[in-house]
């Protein structure tokens, strides 16, 4: 809301400089957004334009008078505003119209005045300048007066051309769904909730928002009906929002206009119109005010003030502050308690808490001493999940990865391709009001975000990208519930090239085994390595031959591998290595306690073997199978060679293992070991159609 300093000075004595006034208003809760000198060359150099940001609860500050009251309360300087006097010139027009309010709960008060013998023309220059400084366009002397009084006093007014009204009755009623042309030329489709001002049966204005084309003041107007009314804020807001039609009037009605001031405003406007448009006002004011509201009597407890603000404001001082704001105070039962009645202009004050806020505001927030709260700390525990997240981050940083953070939104196309590691029917969660079309769904997987990070960084000419993202993914369950899951995903791309003399020796582009190493390292960190089963993956976005699914006890923990060629084509990238793990499962399965195991008391015996199997057989399966056989006597299996080539038949590979046999209670004899080893080899040969390779 804009106003000028000189205008304010007409209503209240101001001794402060513009800067001081600006500080005062800001500290009072009316933030001054800008303070600029008037733009015109002939302007008073001592005049300034203030632009303030008024919070929605302070409808009373959307007028110079309201602001003047605030300034008077804060500075103690007197208000100068007096309602319009002298009285406007009188003609007998009382029987011109009758007022009928059909919905008194939506229109609390309707006042009107008639001004006759009006000559439409330009407003005086001082009024035009003031209106322009406050952001209004000058229209004509009558319309300008309605705007001027609205800004000055806070009461929106509307001027009708009285000769265009025929029924002699102003009816305020709800719409029955008719169409109506507002004075901006647009035909509006109305609904039941919209409030109308009607000439008999014919709508002439959209109440509180905008007048109609059929009744507006034109150059030919000779008689004016001035409307000064109060409308229900909720109704106005609903209509304005639905039609996308906002006006200075509707803005004020939405935030609360003082119903006690309608007549005053009408009189002031009639006076100004008489002075500047040559009119003569009617003697009386038509006023329909069926049920004047009673402001609440609020109990303000003395001890409550101290409990909320932390500072003592004794009853006499509280009384003084609230009176300065225009509230009526009286003593209430109980030491120092007051009963307070706010004026009708302060519809935002309804409870004790509101009064205490007014006390704080005028006492000055800056005057409340600063203390620290007294807390009684209890021995706390670090959060289990946070400890593990920290450890995980340290580990990954040590592996050379950086952490990225991405917004949780994505689009339907990416969600269809990257469906994450969910089990069971998975539907994405839709965003009700997305900022951007491409961000209309919550992500099912962390990978598309990482790929996008990769692309952006490639555009910056980076040659290696090693990153992880620890974040949530979302899906919609069939019963309509939204499920979240904390996941860890990583993307490795390019070379780990280092600068320097030996850079030629440095490893080339990142490989599947590099990625596997990191994933195994993560499992090591969570003490899960032994219990994770690796199997061939069936993930749409990963290369079928170079990917693995990770399970534990038949629960899906995640997947890793090289990106599928289709994905590479789609994004125009070379193959990437990626993994996505269910962090919550890692946390869940990680043993909380380390249980130490005693050292082996008896030595282990090694045996090697080399097996020729079909290329499709995963080594992990063989290892698992051997472990199952071994019962408690196989303490370790290491793969140490994989060979394809000359002496190996086509379509097969040779895998070489070192098996460690050890008993807990005795040294195994050679015979025992040999027997066991033979059993293992026989079994493996049968299960996997393997041949021993000598």
């Amino acid at each position: 809301m804009k106003f000028t300093l000189n205008w304010l000075k007409e209503l209240v004595e101001v001794a402060a400089s513009p800067d001081e006034l600006s500080d005062l208003l800001t500290m009072a809760g009316l933030e001054v957004e800008s303070l600029t000198p008037l733009a015109r060359s002939d302007a008073d150099p001592n005049d300034w334009v203030f632009e303030i940001s008024v919070t929605p609860n302070r409808g009373d500050c959307l007028s110079v008078l309201g602001l003047a009251r605030e300034v008077a309360a804060f500075t103690g300087k007197p208000l100068k505003y007096r309602p319009s006097d002298p009285q406007p010139k009188v003609t007998q027009c009382l029987e011109t119209v009758a007022i009928k309010i059909v919905n008194p709960e939506l229109c609390w008060r309707y006042s009107a005045m008639v001004v006759e013998n009006v000559g439409i023309g330009q407003s005086p220059m001082w009024m035009q300048h003031r209106l322009e400084a406050c952001g209004f366009r000058s229209v004509n002397n009558v319309v300008d007066v309605t705007n001027y009084v609205m800004v000055e006093v806070g009461q929106p007014l509307h001027a009708f051309d009285l000769d265009r009204l025929t029924s002699g009755q102003i009816v305020i009623r709800q719409s029955s769904g008719e169409g109506f042309a507002t004075l901006d030329g647009v035909k509006r489709e109305l609904t039941l909730g919209d409030l109308l001002i009607c000439d008999g049966n014919t709508p002439i204005a959209l109440a509180g928002i905008m007048g109609g084309q059929n009744s507006e003041v034109t150059a030919a107007t000779r008689r004016v009906l001035l409307e000064s009314a109060h409308f229900d804020p909720t109704t106005i807001r609903r209509t304005a929002k639905r039609l996308g039609l906002h006006s200075e009037a509707s803005h004020r009605f939405e935030r609360g206009v003082d119903p006690a001031r309608t007549v005053l405003a009408a009189q002031r406007a009639a006076q100004l119109i008489s002075e500047h448009a040559g009119g003569s006002g009617s003697a009386g004011v038509l006023d329909s005010y069926p049920h004047p509201p009673q402001p609440p009597a609020i109990l303000l407890r003395q001890d409550r003030i101290r409990k909320v603000l932390g500072v003592e404001i004794a009853s006499p001082e509280a009384d003084k502050i609230l009176s300065a704001l225009g509230l009526k105070t009286g003593k209430a039962a109980g030491g120092g308690n007051l009963v307070v009645v706010p004026p009708t202009s302060r519809c935002d004050l309804t409870r004790e808490a509101d009064l205490i806020e007014e006390l704080a505001r005028l006492y000055g927030y800056q005057n409340i001493p600063t203390t620290l709260p007294v807390l009684h700390p209890k021995a706390g525990k670090a959060d289990y999940q946070l400890i593990w997240e920290r450890r995980l981050r340290s580990f990954l940083t040590g592996e050379g990865l950086v952490e990225v953070i991405n917004l949780p939104f994505t689009n339907d196309v990416l969600n269809q391709t990257f469906s994450g590691l969910w089990s069971g029917p998975t539907a994405p969660v839709a965003v009700l009001n997305p900022l951007v079309k491409d961000s209309a769904e919550m992500r099912l997987s962390l990978l598309p975000g990482l790929i996008e990070n990769l692309r952006l960084n490639l555009a910056q000419k980076t040659d290696g990208f090693f990153a992880y993202h620890l974040g949530k993914v979302f899906r919609l369950r069939t019963n309509g519930e939204i499920e979240e899951k904390q996941c860890l995903a990583g993307l490795l791309y390019g070379s780990r090239k280092r600068k320097g003399l030996r850079s030629a020796d440095m490893p080339g582009p990142v490989t599947f085994l590099d990625c596997k190493g990191i994933v195994e390292g993560i499992f090591d960190l969570f003490r899960l390595r032994e219990s994770i089963v690796w199997s061939r993956a069936n993930v749409a976005v990963l290369h079928p031959g170079r990917s693995a699914e990770l399970r534990r006890d038949d629960q899906k923990i995640g997947y890793m591998g090289e990106s599928h060629p289709d994905v590479n084509d789609r994004f125009g990238l070379s193959p990437m290595m990626a993994f996505e793990l269910d962090f919550e499962k890692l946390l869940q399965y990680s043993p909380r306690q380390i249980r130490a195991r005693s050292l082996p008391r008896y030595p282990a015996v090694e045996r090697d073997c080399a097996l020729v199997v079909d290329q499709a057989v995963p080594s992990q399966q063989i290892i698992t199978c051997i472990n199952e056989l071994g019962q408690n006597l196989i303490k370790g299996i290491e793969i140490f060679d994989e060979y394809r080539g000359d002496s190996i038949p086509y379509g097969k590979k040779s895998l070489a293992y070192k098996i460690f046999y050890r008993a807990d209670d005795r040294t195994l004899t050679d015979d025992e070991v040999n027997t066991m080893h033979q059993q293992v080899l026989d079994h493996i040969s049968k299960v996997f159609q393997a041949q021993r390779r000598s």
Binding site: A353, V402, E403, L456, N457, Q460, A467
Partner: protein, 54 residues
């Protein structure tokens, strides 16, 4: 100070319980601490930015 209506809504008696709330943008605090000049950097994930924070 937390509005008494909020307390009532969640089942606390505002006469017995009071509270205060405040907000600090974590990114903005980080910007002050590390001298970062553009808040968008936190979400762009440019390696040249991320690598500075190990």
């Amino acid at each position: 100070m937390i509005d008494p209506e909020v307390f009532k809504f969640v089942g606390y008696d505002p006469d017995r319980v009071s509270g205060f709330a405040f907000g600090m943008g974590v990114e903005r605090i980080a910007m002050l601490k590390y001298g970062i000049d553009d808040i968008r950097l936190f979400f762009q994930n440019d390696l040249r930015f991320l690598r500075q924070f190990r």
